[in-house]
Assembly symmetry: C2
Homo-oligomer: 208 residues x 2
């Protein structure tokens, strides 16, 4: 069964995504998250939060996009969301090569289908890709500052409330409920002392 | 935003699935797999192996089923596939309670939708649930004995080629390509000495 054998070889290679560590910890703070479980969580977000997508968004397609979006990290690794423009450019080249190597394990038509899914997510143009990218932007915020979040931001010591918002705004602003939720979440995190605020740092403390 | 807050609370609780350890290791053998990354891998299998489903199977529904199927383990834990009938019965009660607790975090209609997904997978009656359960049966075999598999079966020292096949047959037989692939995989694993064979153990070794 050469076709099924090729597909199984692809699926076994994908197993390595479970070993790609992200820069976000689990909500418990016990260990860093890996990209496979992150992808599962995004797909579950798509099932749960579909009502906030633009009308007509194909949620089944959103699920496919998030399941596949990080696969290239098997060869290219993960990059921190604060990476520089030069780092991002180098990563983009590596990811293109990684996609060719990885999806090249699949038979012809399927190779093309996976490549197209990955490119759709990366381009961020369709309603489905924009919603998938909004979920991808929300997810680490939820794990880090949600509820009794431990705010594990050791790897980004110079984050501020305002900086996170500026970084997230391009993906979140078009989804008003998400954008409002994110702003409230960071406001609470700043109030709880989990995340510094530029404004508060710039103004003298009351009574000082 | 009480509705979105409830949904986010549900999603944060689901984060705990990343801490539920399965009895199967990653393909590399480096550590045990957790149920969140297992669920992601099953969804990827559904995207990759859809052509082996019965005609008319809704693959989008299969993906939903596998994304949700293990969520109750957050409260009920995972059970080894060789568990006794008594263990299985106790687990079934625990999982029902777990489903009520977990899906109860969601608003009314959504609670019902997730409960129905979970029940559909458990019942294994629809074409979608039967395909999802076949993938769930194949997955640990792929990780354990696929390609250069390390055959990490430390937690099941009395497994044999024939016993694995008997356990897997009810889920796999109706999908001929999967059933044939599984038989060949175990035959190779037995030949490589990764898995004992009852037949070979019963007959004297050549030359002895």
């Amino acid at each position: 069964m050469p076709l099924l054998d090729d597909q199984m070889a692809f699926l076994l290679t994908c197993d390595r995504l479970k070993g790609v560590e992200r820069t976000t910890s689990l909500h418990s703070g016990q260990r860093m998250e890996n990209s496979a479980e992150h992808s599962w969580h995004l797909a579950l977000m798509a099932l749960t939060l579909g009502e906030y997508a633009h009308p007509g968004t194909d949620l089944g397609q959103v699920v496919k996009l998030v399941l596949v979006h990080d696969l290239v990290e098997i060869h290219a690794g993960d990059l921190h969301f604060e990476a520089s423009a030069a780092q991002l450019a180098a990563q983009a080249i590596q990811e293109k090569q990684a996609a060719q190597t990885l999806f090249g394990l699949l038979p012809g038509e399927q190779r093309e289908a996976f490549q197209v899914l990955w490119e759709e997510f990366e381009a961020g143009q369709t309603a489905e890709a924009r919603f998938a990218r909004a979920l991808d932007a929300l997810h680490p915020m939820l794990l880090t500052w949600g509820q009794d979040g431990l705010g594990c931001t050791d790897r980004a010591p110079d984050l501020t409330q305002e900086r996170v918002l500026r970084l997230k705004e391009p993906r979140l602003r078009e989804f008003p409920a998400f954008w409002q939720w994110a702003q409230q979440l960071l406001e609470k995190a700043a109030e709880a002392g989990l995340l510094p605020s530029e404004q508060k740092a710039a103004s003298p403390l009351p009574g000082s």
